[in-house]
Amino acid sequence: MSFERIKPHLPWITLLALVAIVGIADANFLRPANLIAMAADIVPLFIMALGMTFAIYIGGIDLSAQSVANMTTVVATVTLPLFGVGAALVCILSGFVLGAVSGYVTTKLLVPSFISTLAIGGVAFSAAQYLSGQRALFMDAELRDATFGWMTGSSFGIPHEIFIGAFLVLVTWFLQTRTTFGRALKAVGAGEPAAVAAGLDVAKIKIMAFAVSGLLAAVAGLLFSVKLSGGSPTLANGFLLPAIVAVLVGGTPLTGGVGGVINTLIGTLIVAVIRSSMLYFEVDATKQQMVFGLVLIAAIALTIDRTKLRIVK
């Protein structure tokens, strides 16, 4: 059996292997309560990674996701007393618009996505600082529970975050596999010149992909801000690296075209297990970033499709 045949199955094999290793090292890890708490904790990151999947699926990258989520924590906290549940709509809309602008700058103005999203991230950071007055803001506890309490409660012993994550992965999975937009994404990711030749409106599809990425980054920020009951321009710092790692470890290569949201689900769980295993093996928290950086390099090196890159710049 060649490596190419095993490759698509590597993510879930890795996940099972990691769970088994950590489970053997410490049986407490496998207690359902522990696994559920671990899954609930990772949901905001998972939502951001879901969005990132769309940007990477078409061969781009979204480096603004963290700044957009940061901005959303502030937007949510500021608009909650004004609009109530409508605050969620404001958040989602602002994420969508920022993502769409990144997409427009990338496709119409021909600025590579890692630069355009970095720049839009700067704009989002400025907006967050302006809206927050450069302070950490707190939500009114009563108002939060009345409006968004349903996001963080739990039913049948399962935290609601998990339901939100499951709902979003179903929606994005439907979007990816059962709609023309999803098919078009695949076409663009697999080979952009061919998609253009086939008559697809590639620019529109790519703009939409970045918009979805921005939207989901905003949802991640909203959920995170409700969880922590507040917002600040740096609240979601530290999300970007694990989000990219989750997508790539899951098996969506940097070159796009294969993989997808289910891969990202597996990738996020791998990230979650690595994180908690560091606790069990008593690896210092300060080493986490190094470990994830190295995991990222390994994941890219294993998954990237080098036939698509004639010259690696």
């Binding site: 590579p112 190094m290 990222l296």
Partner: protein, 321 residues
């Protein structure tokens, strides 16, 4: 006029024009901006940024990108500070050896970046971004989150000793700018950067070892990041994990705004000097005329998009990712 004012001419001189207009604008808004004292302030904030931006200039000329500077700068700063203090804590002792040591560390980190990018065939933006995270993590590991104070008067003289109203660190930055200019124009390596950026196929076909040039480019960039780290430590007297933060956004913005094209082959260290000055004049000017500091990132973001759009020859680019 029509034939003289072509797009190429405009693109070539636009950055300098923008810089002059900005200076005149801020001087008109607030006379205090146009003073030697304030120019020294701009010089101090520009010096470390210029070193880091020059490093990444070489990479961008090759058509690649390096996003690892935040990690590399932090690692160099922290290693320097530890070594400096361990060997005596003053430039008058053997602790001066910490200076070349920092440059060596920068070169080693850069070499590692280049190897990951070239040998594992990972696009440079992602390879270097990941290595940057590893670098920041490593710096955090070394310091455990502590700040290391470097209080030697001789070393802090970089900031406190002034010749003709400008601190020594400005002259150091200019000296390294001239070295970079020499490398760019008078060495084989410098010309090879342009050959790789102008057309890799052609460079490869003419027998150039492109991979070697790339790895050397990343190593050289690492050395300049280390110089930037030393100046940054000299400026605030502290080395910590956060020493490198914000250098990525600022240095990439500076290089691109200065007129070095992201596609490679065009631009150079003088463009970068103009770019760094544009960014720092904006940052300084906005504070001087009383605008809140948080507008900066947004303004720089818009500026960088405008610069890339202006420097892109739309006829030669089919699609971008």
């Amino acid at each position: 006029m029509g034939s003289v004012l072509t797009r190429d001419v405009l693109v070539k001189w636009a950055p300098l024009l923008v810089l002059i207009v900005l200076i005149l604008f801020f001087a008109a808004m607030e006379p205090r901006f146009f003073s030697v004292r304030n120019f020294a302030r701009i010089g101090i904030s520009s010096a470390p940024a210029l070193m880091v931006a020059i490093g990444v200039t070489f990479i961008i000329i090759m058509g690649s990108i390096d996003l690892s500077m935040e990690g590399t700068v932090s690692v160099c700063a922290v290693v320097f500070a530890f070594a400096f203090i361990a060997m005596g804590g003053t430039l008058a002792s053997f602790a001066w050896l910490a200076l070349p040591l920092a440059l060596l560390v920068g070169a080693a980190v850069g070499l590692l970046n280049g190897l990951v990018h070239v040998k594992l065939k990972i696009p440079s933006f992602m390879a270097s971004l990941a290595m940057g995270f590893v670098g920041t993590g490593f710096a955090l590991l070394l310091t455990g989150g502590d700040r290391i104070r470097v209080e030697d008067d001789l070393f802090r003289g970089l900031l406190t000793t002034r010749w003709f109203n400008f601190p020594i660190m400005c002259y150091v930055a200019v000296a390294f700018l001239l070295i970079a200019w020499f490398i760019q124009t008078r060495t084989t390596l410098g010309r090879n950067f342009y050959a790789v950026g102008g057309g890799e196929d052609l460079a490869h076909a003419s027998g150039l070892n492109v991979n070697k040039v790339r790895i050397l480019g990343f190593t050289l960039a690492g050395v300049f990041y280390a110089v930037g780290a030393l100046l940054a430590v000299g400026r605030i007297g502290i080395a910590e994990t956060a020493t490198g933060s914000n250098f990525m956004f600022v240095s990439i913005t500076s290089v691109v705004v200065g007129g070095t094209a992201l596609w490679g082959g065009i631009g150079g260290v003088w463009n970068t000097l103009i770019g760094v000055l544009i960014v720092n004049v904006i940052n300084n000017g906005m504070v001087v005329i009383g605008l809140p500091g948080y507008v900066q990132d947004g303004v720089l973001g818009v500026l960088v998009i405008a610069a890339v759009v202006l420097s892109t020859d739309r006829k030669s680019v089919t699609f971008v990712k």
